[in-house]
C-alpha cells in the first residue's frame, strides 16, 4: 500500500486533499507543524509522496528563528540532508508565486511545486498521485496495484 503524507496546518486543506485520495486506498498521514513533518517521516517513512505547505508553523519545539516560509525551507533542508532520497517525492504547495521562494526551491533542486492561487484541489491531488506513482499503473487508482 502506498503512503502519502499531507503536511499543512489548515485542517480543511488536509481534509479536502485527503478526500480526493480516498479512492486510491493509500495510507494517508497528516502533519500540522514543521517539526511534526520531520517526526512523522522519521517514524513512518519513507513516503511515496509528501505534500508540504511551505508556509506553516514550526511547532512548539522548533528553533526560535524559524518562522513563516523559513519554516518550510528549514523542513525541506533538514529532510533533504537526512533523507536525500525523498527529493522526487516532495510536492511543495504555496499560496503565491514568489521569486525568493522559487530561487530557494531551485537551489534545493525541488522540481514539484504548486500554488493555491492557481491549482485547485483536483490539480494538487492529481500532482500528488502522479508523484506517488499511481498513474504508472491505472490499477493503482483502485488500490489494486
Amino acid at each position: 500500500m502506498k503512503k502519502i503524507l499531507i503536511a499543512d496546518d489548515e485542517r480543511a486543506f488536509r481534509e479536502l486533499i485527503s478526500a480526493r485520495l480516498q479512492a486510491t486506498r493509500c495510507k494517508i498521514l497528516e502533519a500540522t507543524t514543521g517539526t511534526g513533518v520531520l517526526l512523522i517521516i522519521e517514524k513512518e517513512g519513507p513516503f511515496d509522496a509528501i505534500l508540504l505547505d511551505i508556509m506553516m508553523s514550526p511547532g512548539p519545539q522548533s528553533q526560535p528563528h524559524v518562522k513563516g516560509f523559513d519554516c518550510g525551507l528549514f523542513v525541506l533542508r533538514t529532510l533533504l540532508q537526512s533523507h536525500p532520497e525523498t527529493l522526487p517525492t516532495i510536492l511543495v504547495v504555496t499560496v503565491r508565486d514568489d521569486d525568493k521562494l522559487t530561487a530557494a526551491l531551485h537551489d534545493m533542486h525541488i522540481q514539484n511545486w504548486c500554488t493555491k492561487s492557481t491549482d485547485d484541489v483536483e490539480q494538487i491531488a492529481a500532482k500528488l498521485m502522479k508523484i506517488a506513482g499511481f498513474f504508472e499503473n491505472q490499477g493503482d487508482l483502485t488500490g489494486e496495484g
Partner: protein, 669 residues
C-alpha cells in the same frame, strides 16, 4: 489627577567628595507649573519602597522604556528606603560588546561580556548646582518619555506626557517637609509598612522638623492615596495593565487643560524668538523623521562660553508644531551625557569647538550604523547671534532616515535649514512609506483571501464530484457558507478600516442599541466555528453569562471588534485547545474576556499589540505567520472610540494562557 512636577532631580548628595547613595531624602514642589522638565504632567512618583518583585518590574519597565542597558543604581539595590530612579553618574562603554551602561557606583566590569575595563566615557561631576540637577532631570525625563511613548497607543488623544518621575532635590525647606510627608504617605500606602518604621528608615537630619509637621500630615493623605493608586496601576502588573478608571480619568483631566493657554504662557514667558523658530522647525523635522518629539538646546554664541552651564531647552511635540512643551535648563556636559546614552541624536555647530570635538570623537568611536548618529551643523540664524545644539531622542531605528537627513543637511548647510529638508524628505518619505505599506498590504491581503477561497472552491468541487462521504456533506456545506462569510468579514473589515482611517465614520449616525451579550457571543462563536475547527481549536462560550445587563452597542462594528479578538485567539492557540469566552460585570461596565492557550503574550507586548501594523515576533512564528497587523488596532478603535470602552490584554498566571478584555459601558455618555 494632575500634578505639576518639579525639577526631576535626585536626592543624592556628596559627602567629603564621595557620592552618598544612602541618602533617602526627597523634596518636590508639586505645584510649580513649568518648573518641571515637562511642565504640567501626570506624576507617577517612583518613590516607593518596593519589594524585590516590584523593584525588578520597575527596573525592567525602565529598561524597556529606554531600549538600552541601564544598570540598577546601587542605591536602589541596597537601600530599603525610598526608591530613586535614574540619576546615573558614571557611564561606561564596553569596546567589545558595544554596551553602554550607566551606574551611580560600581566597577568597570562589563555586564555583558565580563570585560574588566569598560571605558569610562562619562564621569558625572556631582555638584550642588544646576547642571547636575538638570542633567538628572533630563535623564529621568527621557526615561519617562520612552515609557510614555510605549504607552501612548492606549491614549491616542493625549498629547501630554503620561508620567514623569519626580525625585526631589533639596529646595526650600517648607517644600521639602511637605513633600517628605507626602512621600512618606505614598510609601506607606503602597507598601503597607508601618509609619514608625518608615520614619526610622529615613536618614534624619531633618527628623525634628519632620516630626513637627506630622500633625498636619493628615491633610495630605488623600493626595498620597491618589499617587499610590497611580503607582499601583502603573507598575503593578496585576492592576496596572488594566488602566484603571483613575488612570484614564487622570488622562482626561490632563487632556482637558486648554492647550492654547499653555502655549501662550510658555511662548510669552520662556521662549525667545529664535527659540520659537527653532521649536517650530524642530517639530517639523521630528514629524518628517518620525520622531515623536524633539529637544532643543540653545547656547550662547560667544566663543569661550562653552563652559557656561546653562542653556535653554525646548521640547516640541512632533504632532503640533505650535506647541512647545517645556522650558528648562541643561549644560553642555549634560547634553553630552545624553549622547553617551545612545538613542539620542544631536546637531551641533561644527565650530563650537569643545563640545563638537567631543561629540565627534564619541560619535566616531561609539555609534554604529544601527545607532542614531550625530550630525554637525550650524544653526546660527543671520540676525540672531546664537548657535544651537539640537537633540532628538530617537524612538526606534531611524538610521536610514538620519543618513539621508545628514546628507541633505551637510550639503545645504545653514539657515533655510529645516524647511528645505522638510519639504524634500517629507514627500519622498510619504511616497516611499505609502508604496511600501501598499505593497505589503496587498501581499498579505491576497494571502488572507486565497486560502479561504481555495477551501470554498475545493469543497464545492469535492461535493460536486462525490468525493465527500454522505455523512459529511452537511458539514462541508456549512463550511462553505462559513468560509464565504469569513471572506465577507475580511472585506468588510477593510472597508471599516478605510472608513476609520479616513475618519468618514460618523459616530452620530451609528445606532447604538442594547444587545444581549450571551446571544451576541454565541452567534459570533458560531460564525467562527469553522475557522476554529480549521485550526483544531474549539470555542466555548460560558453559559453563566446569560443574565447580564445589555450594554448599548453598534452591533455590526462590535462584531468586527470582538471577532478580531476571537480570530486572534484562534490563530495563536495551540492545536487541540479551547478558546474560552466569558464575561464579568459591575454597575458601570460589562467586560468580555477571551482566553486562549498557545503562543504566550509577553508583558511588554501588551503595550504595543494594539498599535497599527504591529505584529509580535511570536505572531510571525504562529500558525498564521502572515497578517496585516491591523485587526487588534481596528478592535481598539471600535471599542474605545465608537463604544467609549476599554480593551487590553495580559498574560495570565497560567503559562501560555492569554486573556483579552473588552469593557463596554452600560451607559453611553
Amino acid at each position: 489627577m494632575c500634578i505639576y512636577a518639579d525639577e526631576a532631580t535626585s536626592a543624592l548628595t556628596m559627602e567629603n567628595g564621595n557620592l552618598n547613595t544612602d541618602t533617602t531624602e526627597f523634596s518636590c514642589k508639586a505645584d510649580s507649573k513649568f518648573a518641571g522638565a515637562f511642565g504640567p504632567v501626570d506624576v507617577v512618583p517612583l518613590l516607593v519602597q518596593p519589594d524585590d518583585d516590584l523593584r525588578l518590574q520597575i527596573y525592567k519597565r525602565l529598561q524597556m522604556g529606554f531600549g538600552a542597558e541601564l544598570t540598577m543604581p546601587t542605591a536602589i539595590l541596597q537601600n530599603d528606603g525610598l526608591f530613586i530612579v535614574g540619576t546615573p553618574l558614571r557611564i561606561f562603554f564596553c569596546p567589545y560588546c558595544k554596551l553602554i551602561r550607566s551606574t551611580i557606583r560600581g566597577d568597570e566590569r562589563c555586564k555583558q561580556c565580563d570585560y574588566k575595563h569598560a571605558k569610562l566615557v562619562y564621569n558625572g561631576k556631582l555638584t550642588s548646582g544646576t547642571p547636575y540637577r538638570c542633567w538628572a532631570g533630563l535623564w529621568d525625563s527621557c526615561a519617562l518619555i520612552r515609557l510614555k511613548l510605549s504607552r501612548r497607543a492606549n491614549f491616542p488623544n493625549s498629547t501630554k506626557p503620561i508620567a514623569a518621575i519626580y525625585c526631589g532635590q533639596n529646595r526650600a525647606e517648607g517644600d521639602k517637609l511637605d513633600i517628605l510627608e507626602s512621600h512618606l504617605r505614598e510609601v506607606q500606602e503602597v507598601t503597607g509598612i508601618p509609619r514608625e518604621s518608615l520614619i526610622s528608615s529615613y536618614n534624619r537630619k531633618d527628623e525634628k522638623a519632620f516630626l513637627a509637621i506630622q500633625s498636619d500630615a493628615l491633610a495630605l493623605e488623600s493626595h498620597a492615596k491618589e499617587i499610590s493608586d497611580v503607582v499601583s496601576h502603573f507598575f503593578n502588573d496585576e492592576l496596572g495593565m488594566k488602566y484603571s478608571d483613575a488612570f484614564i480619568e487622570a488622562e482626561r483631566e490632563i487632556d482637558s487643560v486648554p492647550a492654547q493657554d499653555e502655549v501662550a504662557q510658555i511662548q510669552e514667558g520662556d521662549l525667545s524668538p529664535l527659540e520659537q523658530r527653532i521649536s517650530t522647525a524642530l517639530s517639523a523635522v521630528c514629524r518628517v523623521l518620525d520622531f515623536d518629539f524633539g529637544l532643543v538646546f540653545t547656547f550662547p554664541a560667544a566663543p569661550g562660553q562653552d563652559e557656561d552651564p546653562k542653556s535653554a531647552m525646548i521640547a516640541v511635540s512632533a504632532s503640533d508644531s505650535a506647541k512647545p512643551l517645556i522650558g528648562t535648563t541643561c549644560s553642555h556636559q549634560d547634553a553630552l551625557a545624553l549622547l553617551h546614552m545612545g538613542n539620542v541624536v544631536s546637531l551641533a555647530n561644527p565650530t563650537d569647538n569643545n563640545l563638537v570635538t567631543k561629540i565627534r570623537e564619541y560619535s566616531a568611536n561609539t555609534f554604529t550604523d544601527e545607532t542614531p548618529c550625530i550630525v554637525p551643523c550650524d544653526l546660527a540664524a543671520p540676525d540672531v547671534p546664537s548657535k544651537g545644539l539640537l537633540i532628538f531622542v530617537a524612538c526606534g531605528n531611524n538610521s536610514a532616515r538620519l543618513s539621508e537627513f545628514r546628507a541633505s543637511y551637510i550639503k545645504d548647510g545653514l539657515a533655510p535649514i529645516i524647511q528645505t529638508i522638510v519639504s524634500s524628505i517629507e514627500v519622498a518619505e510619504l511616497f516611499r512609506d505609502l508604496k511600501s505599506a501598499q505593497l505589503k498590504f496587498v501581499t498579505v491581503a491576497r494571502h488572507q483571501m486565497i486560502t479561504p477561497l481555495w477551501i470554498i472552491e475545493g469543497a464545492v468541487k469535492n461535493l460536486h464530484g462525490g468525493y465527500i462521504p454522505l455523512d459529511k456533506r452537511d458539514v462541508w456545506f456549512r463550511a462553505v457558507v462559513s468560509t464565504a462569510r469569513m471572506c465577507k468579514r475580511i472585506l468588510n473589515s477593510w472597508h471599516l478600516l478605510e472608513q476609520i482611517s479616513l475618519k468618514s465614520l460618523s459616530i452620530g449616525k451609528l445606532e447604538f442599541m442594547p444587545i444581549r451579550i450571551y446571544s451576541f457571543l454565541v452567534s459570533l462563536a458560531r460564525d467562527y466555528y469553522f475557522r476554529a475547527h480549521n485550526f483544531d481549536v474549539q470555542i466555548h462560550v460560558s453559559e453563566d453569562i446569560k443574565q447580564l445587563p445589555e450594554p448599548p452597542c453598534h452591533e455590526a462594528t462590535l462584531q468586527h471588534a470582538v471577532g478580531n479578538v476571537l480570530d486572534n485567539a484562534i490563530k495563536y492557540s495551540d492545536a487541540d485547545t479551547q478558546v474560552d469566552v466569558t464575561c464579568t460585570n459591575d454597575e458601570q461596565w460589562i467586560t468580555i474576556i477571551v482566553e486562549n492557550q498557545g503562543i504566550p503574550l509577553k508583558m511588554e507586548d501588551t503595550l504595543t499589540i494594539f498599535n497599527y501594523g504591529t505584529r509580535t515576533p511570536e505572531a510571525e512564528r504562529s500558525r498564521a505567520p502572515d497578517g496585516t497587523g491591523v485587526g487588534l488596532w481596528l478592535a481598539k478603535k471600535i471599542i474605545m472610540e465608537l463604544h467609549q470602552g476599554k480593551i487590553w490584554a495580559e498574560p495570565t498566571d497560567k503559562r501560555g494562557f492569554t486573556r483579552f478584555y473588552i469593557s463596554l459601558p452600560l451607559v453611553r455618555n
